[in-house]
Symmetry: C3
Amino acid sequence: MALRAAFRSKCVFSGLLSQRSSCSGHGRVCVSPVLAAQRRNNSTSPKIDVNFDQSTGVAVMSLQSPPVNSLSLDFLTELCISVEKLEMDKSCRGLIVTSSQPKVFSAGLDITEMYGKSPERCGEFWRAVQEMWLKLYGSNMITIAAINGSSPAGGCLMSLTCDYRIMADNPRFSIGLNETQLGIVAPFWFKDTMTNTVGHRNTEVALQLGLLYNPSEALKIGLVDQLVPEDQVLTTAKQNMTKWLAIPDHARAITKSMMRKPTIDKLASNREADIQHFVDFITKDSIQKSLGMYMEMLKKRTR
Amino acid sequence: MALRAAFRSKCVFSGLLSQRSSCSGHGRVCVSPVLAAQRRNNSTSPKIDVNFDQSTGVAVMSLQSPPVNSLSLDFLTELCISVEKLEMDKSCRGLIVTSSQPKVFSAGLDITEMYGKSPERCGEFWRAVQEMWLKLYGSNMITIAAINGSSPAGGCLMSLTCDYRIMADNPRFSIGLNETQLGIVAPFWFKDTMTNTVGHRNTEVALQLGLLYNPSEALKIGLVDQLVPEDQVLTTAKQNMTKWLAIPDHARAITKSMMRKPTIDKLASNREADIQHFVDFITKDSIQKSLGMYMEMLKKRTR
Amino acid sequence: MALRAAFRSKCVFSGLLSQRSSCSGHGRVCVSPVLAAQRRNNSTSPKIDVNFDQSTGVAVMSLQSPPVNSLSLDFLTELCISVEKLEMDKSCRGLIVTSSQPKVFSAGLDITEMYGKSPERCGEFWRAVQEMWLKLYGSNMITIAAINGSSPAGGCLMSLTCDYRIMADNPRFSIGLNETQLGIVAPFWFKDTMTNTVGHRNTEVALQLGLLYNPSEALKIGLVDQLVPEDQVLTTAKQNMTKWLAIPDHARAITKSMMRKPTIDKLASNREADIQHFVDFITKDSIQKSLGMYMEMLKKRTR
C-alpha cells in the first residue's frame, strides 16, 4: 500500500535514493520464482531478460528486478554484460529497453548501495553507473526506450541514453532528474545528457528544481519523443525501430558517434576523478545520516 | 511629447544609450524627495531599495532610480554592494529583482557614463557592468526577475541573470538585447547569457536585428518564463519563489553553478581584455560623435 | 519523367549523390541556349546569375545549372567567385540566394565529381565545397535563402549558411541533410551548422535518420524561418531584407561573426585533415562501387 501511495506521489521516486523490497539479506532485490520461470532461454541474468529476434536483428531488453528495477551494483553489472554481448553480436542492430515491472521503468540508483558501505564498495558501484551510461550512450546499436512506467533520476538517465523515447501516456507516470529534491546533485554527465536532449535552459530549471514531468510535460520539452497508450509502448517501439533499420548501419553509427563523442569523452577522460568525487560526497557523515533517515522513512512506509 | 512618443516606440529604450534626467550636475540621476522618503530602513542606498523578509528568507530588491533605472556607475556600485550583502547573509535564500519606476524595469546602461569620459573612467564603468553580471549570474541565491516594465539591453541582461523571469503582460512593454539598432555590439557574455536562455538560433537572429520582443513574443522564444497581469508580477514572483525554496539550497546552488560556471569563467578569465576592448571602442571619435548626436536628440525630445 | 518521379519521392534527392543531365562530356551540366540568353549583363557565369540592384544594395544570386543545380566543381567555383566579388563591393549589403530551376533549389553535391576521379581531383572538389561554406557562412553581407524548391543535402547546407530562410509552402518540396540514407556521413561542419540552427537533439535525430522534412515540418523545428506561397518566395525575401538593412552594417556583421566564428574556426583550422578524410573515404572501393551502382540506377531512370 505504501508502495502504491508512493507511485501516486511525484516526489517519491528518487533516483539516487530508490526503494527496494525487504526480502534481501545482502542489499539485493529478490527475483520472484514466477519471474524467474518467465525468463527466456536467451536471458543473460535474473534481473535482465534479453530476447533477441534474429529475423529482425532487434533485441528487447526487459528490466525485471522487483519491485522497481533499482539500479544496484548487480543489476548494473548484468545490464552492462547484456549490452556488451549484443554490441559484439554483429547480427544485433537494434535494442529496445523496457520494463517487466508494473508502473515503473526504473526507480533509479539503489540507495542501499550507498549507505553504510566502504569507500571501495561505493567506488565500485559508481564505476558501474558510469559504465552503464558509457555503454548505452555510446552504443553503435539503435537504442529505443519503451518507457512503460515512471522513470525518475537514474531511470531517466537510462532513457536519455537511447536514440528515441516512447512513453506510456499515463498521467500518473513521471520522468525527470529529480536529484536536488533529495539534496543530491546530478553529476555533470547526467547534466550533459539532459542538455543534449532538451537544451540548456530547460535543463537549468529542471535540474535546479529536481522536476519530475508527467508524460505530456515531458513530450512538450522534448524529454520524450512520443506518447502512446500504455499497452502500445512496446509495439510502437518495434514499429519505430523499422525506420531506423532502413538506414545503413555504418553511416548511422558514425553520425551518432559524431553527435555524442564530445560528451562521452568528457566522462571517459575523467572517470577516476568523478568516482573520487562521488565517494567523497556520499561517505560524508551528513549525507550518510540523510540516507539513513530516508531509508528509515521508506521502511515505515512499506510496513 | 517626444519622450512620451519614445516610450511608445519599441526602438527608444537603448541599453547602451539610455535616457536620464537633467537635474544632475555630476552625471547622476537625482532621487526625488518622495522616493527618498519611501525608502525603507533596510534599504542600502538611494537607488536600490532592499526589503528583506527574515521570515521567508526572501529579499525584494526594487530599482528606484528615476526616471528609467539607467545603469550608471553609482547605480551599479550600489546594486553590487546590495547583492553582496545579501549573498553573505546565510539567512537570505532568495532574491526578487523588480522596479519601482512606472513602465520600465531598467532602460539599460547609462549613456552619460560613456560620453566625454576619460578612458580610465570608462574602464571603471565597464568593470562595474561586468561585476553586476558576475554577481547576479553567479549568485548562490534563488534569483527571480519581476519584470514590471520594459527591459531593453542592459535591463534585459539583468533579467537574464535570474533563475526565473515573470513579465507584466502589457503589449507596450518590450524586452531584448537591441544594441545593434544603435550601432553597438552586445559583448560576448551578453551573447552567451542569451544563448543559454533561448538557444543559438534565436540569439543569432535577435542580436543581429537588435530585436525587442513584446511579452507574448518573449514568452514564445523563452526569453521570459511567465506572463501575468501587471499588478500581479511581484506577488506571482513571491509565489513562484516558494517552489524554489522547497529545494535544499546546497544541492540547488551546486547544480546552478554546474550549469553556469563555464559561461562565467569565460568572462572572469578575460575581464581586463574585455574592459580594454570596450574602452578602445567607446572612446573612438566616431562612436563618441554618435553618442553626442544621440544625446542631443534626447535633449531636444525632452524639451 | 524519371525526374518528375524523382521529385515526387522524398528519398531521391541525394546531396552527395545528385542527378545530372547526360549531355555533358566532361562531367558538367550543359547550360541551355535559352537560359544563356536569359542571363543578365551583370551575371558572372553561366551557372550563376547575379543581379545586383545598386539602389537597394541587394544582389539576387540565381542558381541556374540545369537540371537540378548540382554542386559540381565548376558550379562551386563560380559561386565562390560571385560571392567574393559581392563581398568586396562595399555597396553590396545583402545577398538573396534562389534558384532559376523549377521545383529545386539545389539537389546537392554532384555525384560525378566523386566517381572514378583521382584523389587529387576529389580533394580539389572537396576544397571547393568547404570554400562555398566558408564564404557563405562567414559572409559579412546579409544573406537570405529564397528556397523555391527541394533542397536536400548540400542544397540544405547552402540554405543553412544564410541569415534567414524563406521556403515555398509546397508539400512536395523537401529539405534536410539526408546523407545517411545513401550510406554517407554528413561531415562535422554540416552537423555544426545544423546544430546551430535547430539544436542538438533535432540534429541528432535528423542526421541519424537522414530526414527530409516537408516545409511545415521544417518550419516546426526551425530548419526554415518562414513559409510563403511558391510565387511569393523571392518578393518576401526582398521585403524581409529591408528589416535587416535597417540595422547598421558594422554592428550587425560583428555580431554575426561573434555567433559563427567558433564554428567557422573549427573547419578553417582543419581543412587539410577534412579533405584527406573525405578523399580517403570517397575513393574506397566499396564506396566507389556504391556510387557506380547509384549512377547506373539514375541512368536507367532517366531513359
